[in-house]
Symmetry: C2
Subunit: 459 residues, 2 copies
């Protein structure tokens, strides 16, 4: 028997593919990183099948890469060593809504929009909002976050339990249904953000919350980015529990207007949202207005209906796609550092200089309430100079962040793109990570070369 035959026997011919188009679809993510085709793509339907696939991978000494929607941005799912890609798109069921426990149990292939649609029936919502319509499994794998993290936390904060298939095919649960626990080592936290290098998630239990009683969203316009950033810092200092606060610079507003058919003033802008009860929210918003008025805010405008509010956030979420749409033939490199809030104004200033000096087209958007921001740079991947310029910007931005206590990736993960910064960021802690990887994947068959460099496998 060959691996292919064994997989076909396990899954049937329909759910094992060597079709060129299928392989090509699983050779890339949404980044500029060079694609690489896998040998085989499989579509399991349940945990048992994933476990059997892992056992076959071990038997044939073949590598395995778990694949959700392919919206990663650092080459996290590109199968550089070929092997088997496990596509989780058939494991896409919302298994249980535990309304009274504010929990939902999902399969890893459930997408964010699919979950939200289901939860709406119960008056609930899932807080993590990375923009892309990623799968929950992928979001947990990269520890995704997004616009609402400033209020509700990141993906890791929402994971109550994971069912994980380990490298040897055994199946574990990393947590439980209780709101807190001090029992044993915190495996939830370890597996979230492990990017498929420690195991494959086959079931996720996630925290959800009630849809807020009141929501207000708006935009605040500033003459320059510095003023906008200072306003964010002042809002946080005042202790206003803001639900979203996004910086969109002048260049990015221009792209948004072109793509989303909006006509926002083309100036540095904060997109804001407040959640709460009616009275508390009104007081928060008034307080916020006073603060930004003192900081030379030129205009604050709140949306009065749900449709306008949705359009506002849709336009923000489409900022990256707007750039891509406006630059046919080019790819996007996205930086992703996160700095302590006290370093944010300096970091954004340095980032703007870096973009200008590079000569590349691009802008800055970001989840500035967390100190996390992205430079969206448009590059011609066939032009080595463009790639060099973009790399130079990325290196400068990352260096700036790491020297000031920040991180090279706030929410996109390490993949292969952020690997070269791991030693500088983690120092000797990288050795601890390597020992954990060795302990849980001694043959190095789980998404090799991601997060931890490839030379860890025991001889």
């Amino acid at each position: 028997m060959t691996l292919l035959e064994d997989l076909q026997q396990l899954l049937g011919g329909d759910r094992v593919s060597e079709n060129e188009t299928i392989l090509e679809q699983h050779s890339k993510d949404e980044s500029y990183h060079t694609p690489h085709i896998p040998d085989i793509v499989v579509y399991p339907e349940n945990t048992r099948e994933v476990s059997e696939i892992m056992k076959l991978a071990k038997q044939y000494n073949t590598v395995v890469v778990p694949f959700g929607f392919g919206s990663s941005l650092e080459g996290n799912v590109i199968p550089y060593d070929g092997g088997i890609v496990i596509d989780f798109s058939l494991m896409n069921k919302v298994l249980e809504v535990r309304e009274n426990d504010f929990l939902v149990k999902v399969q890893p292939g459930v997408t964010r929009s699919q979950l939200d649609k289901e939860l709406k029936k119960y008056g609930l919502f899932f807080t993590v909002d990375p923009g892309a319509d990623a799968t929950l499994g992928g979001m947990a794998a990269t520890n995704a976050s997004g616009t609402t993290a400033v209020r509700y936390g990141i993906m890791r904060d929402q994971v109550r339990d994971l069912e994980v298939v380990l490298a040897d095919g055994s199946v574990i649960h990393t947590g439980n249904m209780a709101a807190k626990s001090s029992s044993g080592y915190h495996l939830n936290g370890l597996f979230v953000g492990s990017e498929g290098t420690l195991g494959c998630f086959t079931e996720l239990t996630l925290k959800v919350i009630g849809i807020p009683e009141h929501i207000m969203a708006g935009r605040a316009e500033f003459a320059n980015v510095d003023d906008a950033v200072n306003a964010v810092i002042a809002i946080l200092q005042a202790g206003i529990p803001i639900a979203r606060v996004e910086l969109v610079d002048e260049q990015s507003i221009k792209q948004i207007n072109l793509f989303s058919d909006t006509n926002y003033n083309e100036v540095p802008t904060l997109f804001l949202e407040f959640h709460g009860n009616e009275a508390g929210l009104q007081q928060d918003v008034e307080f916020m207005k006073e603060i930004v008025d003192d900081l030379d805010c030129q205009k604050v405008e709140f949306e009065t209906d749900t449709a306008a509010r949705n359009r506002l956030w849709e336009s923000r979420h489409n900022a990256a796609y707007a750039y891509i749409h406006g630059h046919p033939g080019k790819k996007q490199m996205v930086t992703d550092v996160c700095v302590p809030i006290s370093e944010l104004a300096g970091a954004i200033k340095d980032a703007r200089e870096a973009v200008e000096e590079s000569g590349l087209e691009g802008g800055i958007v970001g989840h500035v309430g967390d100190g996390n921001y992205h430079i969206l740079l448009m590059i011609d991947v066939n032009n080595p100079q463009d790639i060099e310029r973009a790399n130079k910007v990325n290196e400068r931005i990352v260096g700036y962040a790491l020297e000031r206590g920040g991180t090279c990736t706030g929410e996109h993960g390490v993949g292969i793109g952020k690997q070269k910064y791991q030693e500088k960021e983690h120092g000797d802690a990288l050795g601890v990570m390597q020992r954990i990887k060795e302990a849980l994947d001694p043959d190095g068959i789980l998404n090799p070369g991601k997060v931890i460099k490839g030379d860890y496998a025991k001889s």
Copy 2:
């Protein structure tokens, strides 16, 4: 040279002790678990010294137990294998308050009350409130929480970075100063709750928040525990962002009245606190009152001044000590399960039955907003029947929780007391924990026999 001489050369004679009283002080925690004296107690003043101590421990193949305030409740710091106890009481400095980043950097021996006093100068506070005046190092080691976790999360949620001395004496940092990160495996989360079995914490960077604009605290009295529990569930379902919601049963109110000189009605009571802006808080409180009125609440009383509010919480925090004070010569066994909220009413009902059937004196208090509650049982440790009865109650309570998706310990940690439940709770995930322990402490010298059973060490 002997180990003692080496330690004396490193630290000077004053900071190495074999004094019987000192050894006895470090032979126990606040639990009923049998004490055991260590061979030597040392008092390092900085990270370098802790690192050198670890290297000596490795060299002499001696075990090491880190020790904070000794307020653990599951034997977590009892040195059953003798060896070196590292007492962190001289590493007790608040190193830096990063006001604009809402961060504080402390040494592990800083106590909770010491930190709060320092933070007050900046209008800030540290949210985790376990009752005991524990050290921050100890609180991180057991992943402590307490009354405010329902709103602000547990210890693990507050840790942004740890400086850790590993088993081989090397020093790592587990995180950074940024609000979020997707870089590498989440070592913050892994080390928090590891109870000194993976390394010694020598510095902690913790999240703090601004003191809320308005605070209201009060008590809601009920005819029976069921009504009180149902009120908690209804408040959570309504999405009211309650800051504290504590159940104190009739028996425990009696003990509190005796010990704290209060004269609360001796009925099942919820102790409540709300944080927010003035308008929002008022709306929350009114809404809460409507909810509990509908659920047969007999009386709601809010404290109008800070002194009365402080007395309310002091009396709650002293509930465990009140029992001890009221039962001279007896020790306390505290259960610590946490269940999904939907299982809370049944769990508390079963807990009350268990206490009544045991014939032991005791009551129920708990952080019921998280589904976490404690039975405080008074036992004569010299009476084997008492211990058997208490163990039986604990086993029943834990079994009830585990069968319903809960955990055997919500906030006290595993120590030795919860070890027998680890396999039932974690299944094959326990093997993953064991492999991590082996990878990071191959000689098994870090707090052996805690969290993970003692037979892990490589031969």
